[in-house]
């Protein structure tokens, strides 16, 4: 058996992913979401788990540094990585939405300014609708942008909508549903077919 490497996203969704991994019957030494360690092994060292920044997971997998990645659909869409997307883990559910101030006037066919952490997703969505936009890439507190006039709207992930509400914004349009997905490197899928399939099946039965 060859060793397979799995890249996990650090941060919010890590806990539920770790729970799921434990349910597969593989035990990972020291693996919990508060650990400072970045590399973990299961008991027979056949699986290596690495922790990376969520947006980097698709990159690790696309380049073959990890065979498998477990990460939110939002990051897969933004990175536009060329990978296989094989499984919906049905955790971390939320959606991509366009939001803005309720009283903001629609500008007709004029160019819109969109503040977002996900410029690729925003561009793709508005391109489909035939609307030209300018994106402003922000790294946090995106809700602020329309309030202080930096942008017309925002494109962001929305879970409960309470952050939007507290800042006086409303969802104007939903773009796509998001959940945590399992992605696989295209070369690993061919060269490590058995190992990858075994792990996916373990995960599938753990979800039931």
């Amino acid at each position: 058996m060859e060793q397979i490497t799995i890249a996990l996203a650090k941060g919010r969704p890590a806990k539920s992913t770790i729970d799921l991994l434990e349910k597969t019957g593989e035990h990972f030494v020291d693996l919990h979401e508060d650990s400072r360690k970045l590399v973990f092994y299961n008991t027979d060292q056949s699986i290596k788990v690495i922790f990376v920044k969520a947006l980097d997971v698709p990159t690790y997998v696309e380049k073959g540094a990890a065979d498998i990645g477990i990460v939110g659909k939002d990051n897969i869409m933004e990175s536009q990585a060329d990978v296989y997307e094989l499984l919906d883990l049905k955790i971390g559910k939320c959606k991509f939405s366009v939001a803005g101030r309720p009283e903001h006037p629609t500008k007709g066919n004029q160019k819109l300014t969109i503040a977002t952490k996900y410029p690729n997703v925003a561009k793709k969505h508005f391109q489909k609708k035939g609307q030209t936009i300018e994106t402003v890439k922000l790294n946090g507190s995106v809700e602020l942008a329309p309030i202080i006039g930096l942008s017309d709207y925002i494109v962001d992930i929305v879970e409960t909508g309470s952050t939007l509400k507290e800042n006086g914004l409303v969802v104007l349009e939903d773009i796509e549903n998001i959940s945590t997905r399992l992605i696989v490197n295209k070369a690993s899928f061919a060269t490590k077919a058995n190992e990858v399939q075994t792990f996916i099946n373990q995960l599938k039965s753990a979800m039931e």
């Binding site: 060859e2 380049k63 990978v83 997307e85 094989l86 919906d88 070369a187 060269t191 490590k192």
Partner: protein, 412 residues
């Protein structure tokens, strides 16, 4: 002075070049044993030729140059198309049926702005459309992978026509087709079902399309599964073509190196028959791509069946370095000659004789030698005697011919 550290040339040092050279000579040797002859194409190609041919290189990715007359040229973005044009225009002769090339291609993309040039080593086989030719070309790729020492490599084989045939019955618009293609390329089983169900297509076509991503793996299983979604004669023919190719690969004894992947869609739209790509450990991208393209010749008004593939040499080198398949070579020469001024003439004449006989020789006056260079033999010329030294022997000699004879005796 300003320092230019943007060195985009990969593998610029001597050791890397040696390794690259060794790799290329292995490829050359293997291609030659299948009867292929090396050619090159011009670095500059006409922009119009590329922009007129449908389904080739993305126009934005080509690097354009304008000559003094205002004509737009591109730096060779691929080799297949110029070779195809050359053969179709010159007509097929016994000389140009089987060609191979090792050439740089130039493309630019936003994602990897630093990587504008890469080396491709590929082959093209013109004139025949048969399962025998297809499988021989695939076998040659497998054989080359074995030469390079990869223990774990896989060739994915698919067919450009299978998806195209199926999709014709679904009557999709451009947007829908693009989304569907992306879903199939990423084997996105999660989203393909809801996507298809919102389209207005026949139930059994929908089921067939939905099963494409998982038509993957052991060829015999895939063939069995594919039989159940065959919808017309041309799909039947395509499947038969794949079965024939697989049977011949079995005859070669190569069945363990291949898997079938009917969800394989190549972005180069000119492929018309089988398509395949090769993977090795730890490299996320295919290191080899190829397939049959019988319709490309039509665009030069001369249909000409052809099949070919190309290795991405830079990725291969990366893989070989990662898997440590190449032994690092420490700088070694055959003979180092040390001499005194009084013996200069004799020593240099000896060096000439040895070099003339194909030995690598370095000469140093008065023991001033670069210490890190090692040699199999050391020849010393000083006032009292001439001496040949190696780990095993220490012998005197009186003239260059005697030295050469000594060395040749030792080497045998």
């Amino acid at each position: 002075m300003q320092r230019y550290v943007i060195d985009n040339n990969k593998n610029t040092n001597v050791e890397d070049f040696q390794m690259r050279d060794m790799l290329l000579s292995k490829l050359k040797k293997r291609f030659t044993t299948y009867g292929y002859k090396q050619v090159r194409t011009s670095t500059f190609e006409s922009y119009d030729m590329y922009s007129n041919i449908i389904g080739t290189v993305n126009k934005d990715e080509m690097i354009k140059v304008i000559d003094t007359s205002g004509k737009v040229l591109v730096l060779r973005p691929d080799v297949t198309i110029p070779l195809n044009r050359m053969t179709t225009l010159n007509g097929l002769t016994p000389d140009n049926q089987r060609l191979f090339y090792i050439l740089d291609v130039f493309r630019q993309s936003h994602a990897e702005a630093d990587e504008k040039e890469s080396t491709q080593a590929g082959i093209e086989c013109f004139g025949d459309n048969s399962a025998e030719v297809d499988s021989e070309v695939i076998m040659m790729a497998i054989h080359t992978f074995q030469d390079l020492g990869f223990s774990n490599f896989k060739l994915e084989i698919g067919h450009a026509g299978f998806f195209k045939e199926l999709i014709q019955q679904a009557n999709l618009n451009e947007h829908e087709l693009e989304s569907l293609q992306a879903l199939i390329q990423s084997k996105n089983l999660v989203d393909i079902e809801p996507f298809l169900s919102q389209l207005n297509i026949d139930e059994d076509v929908r089921v067939a399309i939905q099963s494409i991503p998982m038509l993957y793996g052991n060829p015999e299983n895939v063939i069995d599964q594919a039989k159940s979604i065959i919808r017309n004669d041309s799909m039947k023919e395509i499947l038969q073509n794949l079965i024939d190719v697989y049977e011949i690969l079995q005859a070669y004894g190569a069945e363990n190196s291949v898997v079938f992947n009917l969800g394989l869609i190549n972005n180069m739209n000119y492929y018309s028959g089988i398509i395949f790509q090769g993977f090795v450990d730890n490299i996320g991208k295919p290191v080899l791509m190829g397939g049959r393209y019988d319709n490309l010749g039509k665009q030069f008004n001369q249909p000409s069946p052809a099949v070919g593939f190309a290795f991405e040499v830079d990725l291969l080198i990366h893989a070989i370095q990662q898997q440590e398949l190449a032994q690092p070579q420490s700088p070694v020469v055959d003979v180092i000659i040390h001499y005194n001024e009084s013996k200069q003439q004799e020593a240099l004449r000896s060096a000439y004789v040895l070099r003339d006989n194909g030995l690598q020789v370095l000469t140093y006056l008065n023991n001033k030698s670069a210490t890190q260079i090692r040699s199999s033999y050391i020849a010393e010329f000083n006032e009292s005697q001439n001496k040949l030294i190696s780990r095993k022997i220490e012998k005197n000699f009186s003239n260059p011919e005697e030295l050469l004879a000594l060395l040749q005796k030792e080497e045998n």
